[in-house]
Each structure stands twice: as C-alpha cells, then as structure tokens.
C-alpha cells in the first residue's frame, strides 16, 4: 500500500513527529481502556466493582466467565449469529459476483439503469427498512426463521458488493477473455475459471464486509425473533443486560466474550476491511 519512501537521513525528533506519537497514545488509550475495562471487569465481582469501579480484580474471579462459557444459551447465540452471517455472506457474494460480472463485461441496453437501481440501495441501510420488512416477513409467515434475517441482510449487502466488484472485474483486460474464448471456453466458463480466481482479493473484501455487517445487525433480528432460542449475539447481549441489570460483573463478562469473535475475525481480516474501504473510495 505505501510506496517505499526513499530512506531519509535520521533527524532529531521534530515537534510534528512528537505530536504524532502523542496523538497516537491518546487514541490508543481512549479506544482500548473501555474495551479493557469490560474484559477486566468480568474478572471481578459486582461487589468489588461497586466498591471501586477503577480498581483491578482482587482477587481475580473466574466464575463469571465460567458461568457464561458453560451456558448453552451463549453458544446458541453464537451459533445463530454464525449461521445467519454465513448464509447472508454466501448469498451476497455469489449473487453479487454474478450480477457484477453481467454488469461489467456484457454490453446491453438498460445496463446502467440496473446498476443505478443497485446503487440506490446504498442509501437505505437495513435498519431503516426494518419495520416494513418485518410486516412483509410476517405476511410471508417467516417470523422466527433465521432465513428471514439472512435473506434481507444479503439483499442489503448486494449494493456495496456490486459497487466494489464491478470496477474490479471491468479492469481485467479483454485480451484475457478473448484468449479464453479462442481456447474454447464459454463466457460463463471464463467467469468461473478465470475471472473469479482473479477477483479473489476483491471477493474476500466484500465477503468480510458482508459478514461483519450481518454479525452486528441488531434491529431486524430484534423484530423477527421473539423466542430467546433464536436470538443472535447482539440481541443476546442487549437482552442479558436488561435481565441481569443488577449484576454488573456478569454483564461485563458476557459483553467481553461476545466481543471476542468479532475482534478475532477483525485481527485476521483487517487488511481486507481496510483495503475494501479504500478500494470503494477510489472506485
């Protein structure tokens, strides 16, 4: 990403450099301290926290975390979230890639109109459409069904997927396609065997974005699921907080554990997310 800058001669620390480090430290503290407070708070008892909110655990208590890790409901939430996120991501990436292929490498009348239609979707995030969506899903009799959440999530991820993939697929030289055709491949064969593998990085980016979005979605599952057994992790966290509002330590432990999958996934996929963002900025 960064072009290798020519090595500069070492100079004494300038004020601007010092300022950079100072700002960096402040940012890290403001970001990390709240997260750490949650993780460490989970190792204390509520009595300890009430007595002194800022202190370290004394003694360290494992029971909060143990209670949650051994509760089947927590894993149920994780499983529900994972199922919905996997279905939504698979659908968004597969259908989005197909549409982006058609919109980038076929010339046909109305192509820009179809593309425009998809980009309009960027203006309407899922949250705002949730009430009418709920009415629609209820009409279809799909309430309490994980697919009733996964399908709309996939649909709402399509615009960004297509917007990121289309320029990427467009940039693949036409010679490559001609060569494939000369070698006797059909257009769809070119798509599956050549274009998709070449689009690997962009596909990974859109997959990560769709996955994270689905994993974090709150309002739609809130409306669709009323049975706790079907809850996703964000619903579970909010619900747990209301249910145990007196037991701060347990809420902290639950919240800390529910951050783990997202943060772990993020550390693993950071490049993809950031790359995708800058990619979508540059077009």
């Amino acid at each position: 990403m960064t072009a290798a800058a020519p090595a500069r001669p070492r100079r004494p620390l300038r004020p601007a450099t010092l300022a950079s480090y100072a700002v960096g430290v402040v940012l890290v503290v403001l970001t990390v301290v709240p997260l750490l407070y949650v993780v460490i708070g989970g190792f204390r008892t509520t009595a300890q926290i009430n007595e002194s909110p800022t202190a370290l655990p004394h003694p360290w208590v494992w029971s909060n975390y143990r209670a949650i890790v051994t509760s089947s409901l927590f894993w149920r939430f994780v499983g529900n979230s994972a199922l919905i996120a996997v279905v939504a991501t698979t659908l968004a990436v597969t259908l989005g890639a197909m549409a982006a292929f058609a919109l980038s490498r076929y010339a046909f009348k109305g192509r820009e109109a179809v593309y425009l239609l998809f980009t309009v979707g960027l203006l309407f995030p899922l949250g705002v459409a949730s009430l009418p969506l709920y009415l629609e899903l209820r009409q279809l009799g799909w309430l309490e069904n994980p697919f009733a959440v996964a399908l709309p999530e996939a649909a709402f991820s399509l615009p960004l997927t297509i917007v990121i993939l289309r320029p990427f697929m467009r940039a693949v030289p036409a010679e490559l396609e001609d060569a494939a055709v000369v070698d006797g491949t059909s257009r769809l064969g070119f798509f599956v065997r050549i274009l998709l593998p070449l689009s690997g990085p962009a596909l990974a980016t859109v997959a990560v974005l769709a996955f994270v979005t689905s994993w974090n979605t709150y309002l739609l599952p809130l409306l669709v699921f009323s049975d706790t057994q079907h809850f996703t992790l964000p619903l579970g966290v909010a619900n747990f907080q209301t249910q145990y509002s007196q037991d701060t330590a347990r809420i902290l432990a639950f919240t800390a554990l529910s951050m783990v999958p997202a943060l772990a996934f993020f550390v693993f996929a950071e490049r993809r997310i950031v790359g995708g963002l800058s990619g979508s900025v540059k077009g």
Partner: protein, 330 residues
C-alpha cells in the same frame, strides 16, 4: 420517489436480456449466440435482482401502501386515512424533536469528527513506529457491534461508575454528571459514544485517501517555498476532497438513521430527549402496534435520506466522477 423506483426496474429487467441492441439480422448462425447471451444475462442477473427487489425495494412499497391506513397490524386493513398519518407525524412535537436530534448529531459529526479525523489522519500519515498497530487499534471499535458498544458505555457511564470515578480521581469531580439521565446532556453523551465507535472508520478512510496522493505534489509545493502548513492546506487537503466528500456522505446518512446505540442505552429517553427518527419509528410502529403510522414515519425517513442523497450528489459528489458511490447516481 418511492413509487417510481419499481417502475424503473420493471423497465430495466426486460430490457436487459430481451431487447438487446438492434436485433441481429436473421441469419441462422448468428441467432443462437444472441439467444444464448440473453439466457446468460438472465441467469446472472435474475437471482440478485429478485433478492434485491424482494427485500430492499418491496419493503419501501409495502411501507407506502400501509402508510395511508390506520392499522394496528392485526385486524382487517380497511381504515383508509389518506395523508393523515403523515400530517400527524410531521406535527408531532416528539417527531419534530427527533428530526432535530438527528440534525444535531449530523452537524456535530461535521464540526467535531471531521476535523479530528483529518488532523489525526494527517499526523498518522508519516513513517512512525507502531503505525500498523495503531491502525488496528483505532479501527477496532468499528467492528465491535453497536449492541456491545451500547452495553459497554451504559455500564461505564453508570452513576458512580468508571467514568465518574476516573474524573474524581484526577480531581475533576465537579464534571461528574448523570450522563444518561440528564435530558440536557444525554444527546451529547450519545454523540460521544457514536464518535468512539465510528471515528476510527473516518481516520482509516482518510488515511487510505492520503496514501493515494502522490508525495511529489507536496514536495513540489515545498520546493516552491510553501511552508508545511501551506502545503497541507492548499495541496494535500484539496486533493483529499473526494475522500472527505464520501466521508461526509456516509456520516450524514449514518446520523440520519441512528438507532441501535440510542435504543439500547436510553430508548430515546429521558422524556424523549434522545429520541431519533428511527427510535421514534420503532417505538410507534412496533412497540405501540401503530403499523400504519409507523410506515408513514418510515416513508418520511426514506424521503429525507433520499432527498439529502440526491442534493448532495448534485452539488458535492458530482465532481468525483471516479467515486464508486457516485457513478450510478449521477
């Protein structure tokens, strides 16, 4: 606008596979590839379009339809009230305040988050130790879900909780407030939480934009005698324009649709002091089973976002012809 979108679509779907360009001359060998091409297009586009129309556009149409009824969601749908729901919403002081709250958040994002993000991105856009770690850390809150963010800050901001205690420890005890229960303060508390969650996103976006600017341009300005600040102000920041405009767009749309964090932390309270358009919508439509009325509110919310997006597109984004968000919407 809501009714016209499906029209565009109805026109667009058949034109894709069916009309093509001018129909090719009816010579046998040429016909088959054309038919095949149309089938391919249908196969490639139909699934995505079906999903998109079914779950993104249809709900909008559904909302428009229900919005002219008074309906609790259960009985028969027979009480047509026309535009009464819209009139009622627009004249409800609670909803007017909700719009105001969204605008305050949007404005604060512009005047607080944007300068901070640009400043930080400029400072971080230099070779320094630990930059990769810093990027990772700053971006982390963006991946943490809104629900977790809300619960986390709810606990930290409890009366006598972590924030209060830290303020007391450093001798700023008189700054301690009821962060979430004080109706004059709660909206600004919400803004602070939203900033914590999303500012990393802005910084990363702007950093990516900065890295796309060739270093030579700045160096040329410096050679011509510009001071560092002048080079930043007159070369770097203008070149960052497209990224800044995209950030503004995303941030405004996000501010207009703020829901999760507010809903979990305060449900719009106390006394509607932190109500946003979206929490109002869910409260009326879902909690009180006023589905017709809630649909009207949803349509108003759509309309506000849409009008904003079109205006912004027309007057700000138009210049960035390469911007991905802009291409389709011109």
């Amino acid at each position: 606008m809501v009714e016209t979108t499906p029209l565009v679509l109805r026109k667009a779907v058949p034109t894709g596979p069916a009309v093509g360009t001018a129909p090719p001359p009816v010579t046998r060998p040429r016909r088959r590839p054309a038919t095949r091409r149309r089938l391919e297009l249908l196969l490639l586009l139909a699934p995505a379009l079906t999903l998109f129309v079914g779950f993104v556009l249809a709900p909008i149409a559904v909302a428009v339809y229900y919005s002219v009824y008074r309906w609790n969601g259960f009985g028969p749908l027979d009480d047509v009230v026309g535009f009464a729901n819209y009139r009622q919403a627009l004249s409800d002081p609670v909803f007017q305040h909700a719009i105001e709250h969204n605008l305050v958040i949007a404005l604060l994002s512009l005047v607080v988050q944007l300068p901070i993000s640009i400043g930080v991105a400029l400072l971080l856009n230099r070779r320094m130790h630990g930059r990769a770690v810093l990027r990772l850390v700053v971006f982390a809150p963006y991946v943490v879900s809104e629900a977790v963010t809300a619960v986390l800050w709810l606990l930290i901001l409890q009366p006598g909780g972590f924030v209060d205690e830290v303020l007391r420890d450093v001798g700023l005890g008189h700054f301690v407030h009821l962060w979430l229960a004080d109706s004059d303060l709660v909206l600004y508390t919400m803004f602070a939480v939203v900033t914590w969650k999303y500012i990393g996103f802005g910084i990363i976006l702007l950093l990516a934009g900065l890295q796309g600017i060739p270093a030579e341009l700045r160096e040329a300005a410096l050679l011509d005698g510009a001071t560092g600040w002048q080079a930043t102000r007159f070369v770097t920041i203008p070149l960052l324009g497209p990224t800044i405009r995209i950030w503004i767009f995303l941030s405004m749309i996000g501010s207009l649709q703020l829901f999760d964090i507010v809903w979990i932390m305060t449900s719009g309270g106390p006394a509607n002091a932190s109500t946003t358009m979206a929490t109002y919508l869910v409260d009326r439509g879902f909690r009180r089973y006023e589905f017709g009325y809630g649909s009207a509110v949803a349509v108003i919310l759509f309309a506000i976002c849409f009008v904003f997006a079109l205006l912004y597109q027309r007057f700000a984004l138009r210049r960035d012809t390469d911007g991905a968000l802009t291409r389709g919407l011109a």
